[in-house]
């Protein structure tokens, strides 16, 4: 039986004190997890380093990444496990989307204008 796929949105907040090459390699790993499990990535955005509205684990800044993808729920479990045990990620959020989004998000549009 073919598993049901859904559209997801994932926001990742990385610790800026960590090595940047580590961030790139973890992102590559997550992307390969999605694609290997017959999923597809529709949108990937780097919002850059932004100031936090409040301190999280004594961090006042974080690097944000947004990934929109389509996959089955098994992939989500796998990703959650990977993220949970990654100390470089200070916070993450999965959101279920109704449809796929490929256009640049509001965050990127406002960045381009600036």
């Amino acid at each position: 039986m073919e598993s049901i796929t859904r559209h997801y949105e994932l926001v990742l907040m990385f610790d800026i004190n960590q090595d940047e090459s580590m961030t790139a390699s973890t992102l590559d790993k997550y992307k390969s997890v999605i694609t290997e499990n017959s999923g597809s990535i529709h949108r990937f955005e780097d919002w850059g380093i932004m100031k936090l509205a409040y301190l999280i684990n004594k961090n006042n800044k974080a690097r944000y990444y947004l990934i929109n993808f389509e996959s089955n729920c098994k992939t989500i479990d796998e990703l959650t496990n990977l993220i949970k045990f990654n100390d470089n990620i200070i916070r993450h959020l999965f959101l279920i989307q109704d449809e796929k989004s490929t256009e640049p998000s509001v965050m990127m549009q406002s960045k381009e204008k600036a």
């Binding site: 932004m50 509205a53 409040y54 301190l55 947004l66 959020l93 959101l95 509001v106 965050m107 406002s110």
Partner: protein
């Protein structure tokens, strides 16, 4: 802060946790979500704003209150 400039300008699809500049119109100076009698939002609009603000707060895009200890 304060009321939206023009009620008609707001498109429901634009209400999103990523659109912090828009959401800031619906929160008070202390970071609280304003009641719709203040902002003039429709019920549908208010429900979406409510959800979007709460997601944005979790991601530290918007503050929970004005008393966060910075530094």
């Amino acid at each position: 802060m304060g009321t939206p400039n023009s009620k008609k300008n707001i498109i429901l699809a634009d209400i999103d946790y990523k659109n912090t500049s828009l959401l800031r119109r619906y929160i008070s100076e202390s970071g609280k979500i304003s009641p719709r009698r203040v902002t003039g939002a429709s019920a549908k609009e208010q429900r979406r704003v409510n959800k979007a603000v709460k997601i944005a707060r979790y991601l530290a895009l918007l503050p929970f209150c004005d008393n966060h200890k910075n530094q």
